[in-house]
Symmetry: C2
Subunit: 225 residues, 2 copies
């Protein structure tokens, strides 16, 4: 199925930038789809301008409602904010290789979200602290209160940036290859080589006391699903 049914009501705004010029039938603009992809994969890539040229940085993102937040260095915050400093953030889950009967129709299965906008740096101390807590708790529910409390200087040294999920789109390819009609008779294996990711066995460091229980948030987790 290359064409996905759009079944939800809420949609983001489409603009000239989120309009898909290539394979628009793979586009999805409903917030449910966009949120699900963001929530499935913390790793994101942020593209920004540095001295007039594009640069890219992989980092971790998390979503709260209709905004996406990510962690930058304090240097990055000055790079990344300001009217002239639009960024583009992408999250992409790589789901498989698609083997068709012709080289031309080989493809990949993936779920991708792209968001454009001018990032806002979170400045206010308590708001930053709350967001850091939300990030940790989102990944590891209950962990925040187990940790050595945050120091003021650590809050100051942490940069958090955010974008509204408004100028945004998802692009998804799933399923089997799509060949030319006359190629289906070709005598070659065709199908999908799926890719999946998982969390493996947690590895405690040597300083974790033997009587410290393994927290529940380390067990039975999924990523990219």
């Amino acid at each position: 199925m290359q064409h996905c049914e759009n079944t939800t009501m809420t949609t983001v705004n489409t603009t000239i930038r989120t309009k898909l010029s290539r394979l628009p039938e793979r586009g999805r603009f409903d917030t449910e789809t966009i949120h699900a992809i963001l929530d499935a994969m913390p790793m994101c890539h942020v593209a920004y301008m540095r001295e007039g040229k594009p640069a890219i940085v992989p980092t971790l993102q998390w979503r709260e409602g209709d905004r996406v937040f990510w962690h930058g260095s304090t240097g990055a915050a000055s790079h990344l904010t300001g009217q002239e400093n639009d960024v583009c953030l992408n999250v992409c889950v790589f789901d498989g290789l698609v083997l068709a009967r012709s080289a031309f129709h080989h493809s990949a299965n993936y779920r991708s979200v792209t968001i454009f906008g001018t990032p806002e740096a979170v400045i206010e101390h308590d708001e930053k602290t709350q967001l850091m807590k939300n990030f940790v708790e989102g990944l590891f529910p209950g962990r925040w209160d187990q940790l050595r409390p945050l120091k003021d200087k650590e809050v100051r040294a942490t940069s958090i940036l955010s974008l509204p999920i408004t100028e945004a789109s998802a692009k998804i390819r799933t399923g089997l290859p799509v060949d030319e009609d006359e190629d289906y008779a070709y005598n070659v294996w065709a199908g999908v080589l799926p890719i999946s990711s998982q969390f493996d066995e947690p590895e405690a460091d040597e300083f974790t006391a033997a009587d410290v229980e393994r927290p529940d948030y380390l067990v039975g987790r999924t990523i990219g699903e």
Copy 2:
């Protein structure tokens, strides 16, 4: 181990753009490390400028010698080439979440390569055909000759871009959390939650004849290693 030993001789050029302003101790500039990361993960992100603003596209890359190639749409080729159209390409393998004793020292394990430059579009028909063959054969050795032969119009409709792996850097974080000395006594689980990816059971489509053998290139493959 946050600090990695650099054991090889051949290095790429470091420039103001590849110099790591944040956590430079994680930087690696030897070609062996850079090539290994590119070879481990075909999915890449390319950042480019579109009407003066950054945009980003996930796509598949492959390496031949000291160049990286990727597949773009024919529209992308016109966007992406030309002296004023530098791009930045990143490949990042997400290896795990790092749980420290303070929120501040939480981190991620990853292997990342970033390459800057002005991409070249491959124009010449036979060279494009050869590169498409190299891409398919690199992923699936022996498959090219099993496929329905490429048509001229398919070569024309395929855009291949490339960058030299010269203005490039790798950034790697591996291993356990690094906490403040006074935090190690804190009574909380600390360590790494590793992430790995794999190819799952290949799924043939319904048009693959029952007597078509499953090719060897589908079995025992790894990704991200």
